[in-house]
């Protein structure tokens, strides 16, 4: 891989990180809630997709059509049963509860699927690439990136242009004032978690088709999502995309330069540097 290819690969994987980060960003924006089981939900989606493919055949892509609505419903249920009790409480209990949830999901997956790594097979799409001179772009990473951008564009339009989207932003600004406008905040929270889980399900399937996955991968994915959010700056979807891309670039370029070092280390280091130099993120708004 040459440098140009590394840059392209970094940008493209950054789209995936942004897709992971979207749900985290939405949950935090609307409810000030950090869900530590976020990454485990992605892994769960990849396993569910592999089960669907094994039992019904075909490509993992059709399972997305099933998993998006399922993810939304899982989100609604999660909100009703767990998160509703965590909104506005001491963050310690949010962390303990979602950490507990993460342990439950991981071990339940381990129980059902064992510790073996699995992969979602997308056939030759996975290896196909387009070449432009020296530059070679993987078709699947490109597709994955475009899907991520499409999700972010739709979400951005939803938040910016629709009535429900306005209600989301109003609730994020001031939940009590939003209720005084007749907005049922519990509905808003349910939809927010529904969106968070369905986007992370989507990310989980795309990740599972790119690399193999195991039940213990969730925390690592959570960390990538978290880094994308913080690097990009809290409270901005486009910042999250930019944060994801910068994170992806740090990983691929770092690994290109120092081949015997783990790529995620470079992402972590970049995150710490951003924290030290620009704690509001590269593209974040300074809180009023």
């Amino acid at each position: 891989m040459n440098w140009l290819n590394a840059v392209v690969a970094g940008v493209l994987v950054g789209g995936l990180y942004a897709l992971y980060a979207t749900g985290l960003s939405v949950s935090f924006g609307v409810m000030r809630l950090v869900n530590l089981a976020h990454g485990d939900l992605a892994v769960m989606a990849a396993f569910l997709s592999s089960t669907l493919v094994l039992s019904a055949g075909g490509s993992p892509f059709w399972t997305i059509l099933v998993l998006l609505p399922v993810g939304f419903l899982v989100g609604l249920a999660l909100q009703r049963v767990v998160f509703d009790r965590l909104v506005g409480v001491d963050p310690a209990f949010q962390i303990v509860a979602t950490f507990g949830l993460s342990i439950v999901i991981q071990n339940a997956l381990l129980r059902v699927y064992s510790a073996d790594r699995r992969a979602l097979d997308v056939g030759k799409l996975k290896v196909d690439s387009v070449s432009i001179g020296d530059l070679s772009i993987g078709v699947f990473p490109l597709l994955r990136f475009l899907v991520a951008v499409a999700v972010l564009v739709s979400l951005s339009l939803f938040l910016g242009r629709t009535k429900l989207g306005r209600a989301f932003r109003a609730t994020s600004d001031d939940p009590v004032a939003a209720r005084l406008m007749g907005i049922n905040n519990r509905t808003i929270y349910m939809v927010a978690t529904g969106i968070a889980v369905s986007t992370v399900f989507l990310a989980g399937v795309f990740n599972g088709a790119q690399t193999n996955f195991a039940t213990s991968d969730g925390p690592g994915l959570l960390i990538f999502a978290f880094e994308a959010v913080i690097i990009g700056g809290l409270g901005s979807l486009w910042g999250t995309l930019a944060g994801g891309i910068v994170l992806g670039l740090a990983q691929t370029l770092g690994a290109e330069q120092f081949t015997d070092w783990p790529s995620q280390l470079f992402g972590h280091v970049l995150f710490l540097v951003v924290l030290a130099v620009r704690p509001n993120g590269l593209f974040g708004r300074v809180e009023a």
Binding site: I95, G100, I223, F226
Partner: protein, 356 residues
Amino acid sequence: MIRTQNHVQRATGTSKLLGGLAALLVAWLAVLATGDVASTQTKIVEMCVFVVLASMWNLLAGYTGLVSIGQQAFVGIGTYALVVFANGYDQDIYFSVLPAALIALVAAVPIALLAFRLRGGYFAIGMWVIAEVVRLLVKQYKADPIKGGSGTSLNVPVSLYPKVDRFQTTALIALALAVVAVSVVALLLRSRVGLSLQAVRDNEAGAAGLGVNVYRERFFVFMIAALFTGAAGAVWYLLKIRVQPDTAFSVGDWTAPIVVMVVIGGIGTVEGPVIGAVLWYLVRDYVTSSDSVIHFSDEWYLIYTGLIALIVALYAQRGLWGALQDRFPRLQVFPIQRRLVVGDEVAVRGEDEGNG
């Protein structure tokens, strides 16, 4: 004219009684530690190490709002500092626990400077990232005495450290460390720092307005926690010998059980984490050993653990000790609460917030 004399009372009859019982328990454990049953000594070490870890995590989460899921960073730093002093510089392994703890303390300074820029849940994950960075860096250091990801063993030649001797000494050190750690937490909370911390916990903006330097108090407590967490990690490996970065810096082996112990016992109380750690350990020991009547596989055991953490955090936030205190308001082992005794009448402050 009758004058009534007012004074501040701390210890109550109950606390003296319970304190005496706790002292007896420690004495009994000390006797067991000096015995020659290796399995008993192992249990003492494991339990005491987790009492230290849980107390320190609670000091952070329950009193300063710093909920960290990266405390394994300090466990690992303490452990590897022990390895460096003992294997690298041929120092006495027991003595090496002290500089190992100090190294953890020193490492905590830059870590705090970075992580304190994040709040709440983001602080929690930020600490995790920092622990990951340290783990990955240790794995990359392939030279002696660290030996990278494959790990190494603490150098304990039988000629210098006979096994019986090492188990005895380690058990005594672990017990002493637990007693010191819990006492430090109790004394700290009784001190001026403790009062400021309670003010911060009740109302951060208000406390800042009263001149409490919130940042400085948090920083100080974070240092204390790092010191003891590092020491606990080092003591653990005096017994376990075999050291690997993936286990020494594991969130699942260290921070996950710590969090569960603290919430079950009662976050924001001195006694809760101790009870949580002991109880958790006894239950785990029982249900994961294959000859028990109620036996769980590792996965089921962890699923139940996670569920309990979830349920306690959602429905029983005061934990076991908190629930007991709700029923018996005078219950406390460590008299950190101040009671203003006004003549015959006893005014209790902060009863409904627990003995914070």
